[in-house]
Symmetry: C2
Subunit: 253 residues, 2 copies
């Protein structure tokens, strides 16, 4: 089995290191990842400038390719151009921080897996629900290995990926892996205004994640109860209920 | 009516100028838009650096706020912080280029409308299916006005936006506005490898849009037949069919 590993925290992050260790137990690993932190980058592609691919070394041997682009760029460039062999699966992570609920929309980690499944490759994203960069990654790495082992058997349709969120808890409190749906929770956010030494304002995004609705089988609810949540996501964005309802409205011009 | 206008081509683009002209026929317009081209930026938010808001002048008066960020940043910063009054609707565009089918995933134009609807404001994205920056925007502007007039009456649920794609055709060939679903077409793309004067490779994204499946009511099919396509999109990303199917699979750890 050939596994393409990428992330959005950058090729030198602890999360990708832990993920590569776990994936090497499954097969041959190629790493193509951003050369720097790319969080909240969404499903961006670099079109207005060219990409560079630089060999990245760790412990004296080549660890992978560092790209001056986004996670989606890494998957597209890796699969189409850099790698000699097409991967059997794409695994993105381990992200430092939750990608449950609305976070999936903003997530570079999820976007890499989306790009993989759009290219016809079984793909998954893995996140540890803890922003601390010194957090223990070993449970999340074991969950990633377990889900990756199943991924090839699942035969997901093209365009559907698995979004895996792992709680940041001690292993003896971990309750197992559960299938989930995307939650409906979101951010209550705004900007903190500061002034530079010249008195001009600048704006920092701040916010806290708030519970809007509780669904027992939602990704964030399951993580809160000590489960790793596995959510099948796709990019069929049409709201078909609204489509049916709006057919009765006309649009005059 | 108060309309917040933004885009992803930048505050100095012809598309936003045409859109502001059309929206002023409906009410008071505020403009908060990126200070530079942001295409294929996806649903990115700027979290690792602060935002700046600079007054942008056109024809001797203030046209709007130019932001060193993404379209989603513009909506979030505008609504939460910059604007004195909360907008009644958010309109993003007019984008130079199609946002049908898979393009919606990569689109900064669509992401701005997504951010608006996530904030509870009726929102729409408008794109002219022509990448030529000298293209005639007047038909797309009239379509934007017609759809915006209906948007408040439609009472879309929070999280659902209208994605409007207008064909680049002469007005006498235009056949009207139709409700659509997101198409399933995509890009056949790759990278063109070039070498710099030092002989090191760099990679340009290239590709062409290809028809994968034909659906009569898909956005790109309708645009191809001379209609403006209005697609209700939402960010309920769970693939519920797969969720049901995968419940029978276990994940052992």
């Amino acid at each position: 089995m050939r596994i393409l590993v990428t992330n959005d925290d950058g090729i030198d992050s602890p999360g990708i290191h832990a993920l590569v260790g776990a994936m090497r137990r499954l097969g041959d690993v190629d790493v193509v990842a951003p050369d720097r932190q790319q969080s909240a980058v969404g499903h961006a592609l670099t079109v207005a400038s060219p990409l560079r691919a630089t060999p990245f070394y760790r412990d004296g041997s080549m660890f992978g390719w560092a790209i001056n682009g986004t996670p989606a760029d890494c998957v597209k460039l890796g699969v189409s151009t850099l790698l000699e062999h097409r991967p059997d699966i794409v695994v993105s992570g381990i992200n430092h921080g939750s990608n449950t609920s609305v976070n999936a929309i903003y997530s570079g980690t999820v976007s890499a897996a989306t790009e993989g499944t759009l290219m016809g490759i079984p793909s998954m994203a893995v996140s540890l629900c803890d922003f601390d960069h010194s957090a223990d990654m070993s449970l999340a790495a074991d969950v990633a290995e377990a889900v990756a082992r199943r991924l090839l058997q699942l035969q997901l349709p093209q365009g559907t990926l698995l979004n895996v969120n792992v709680p940041a808890i001690p292993r003896h409190e971990f309750r197992g892996i559960r299938l989930a749906r995307q939650g409906h929770n979101s951010w209550d956010d705004g900007y903190e205004v500061r002034r530079d030494p010249q008195g001009r304002p600048y704006y920092w995004l701040t916010g806290k994640f708030v519970t809007i609705s509780r669904l027992d089988d939602a990704d964030d609810a399951l993580v809160g109860e000590g489960f790793a949540a596995v959510t099948p996501l796709h990019y069929e964005l049409t709201n078909f209920d609204e489509y049916q309802r709006l057919l009765s409205f006309g649009f005059e011009l």
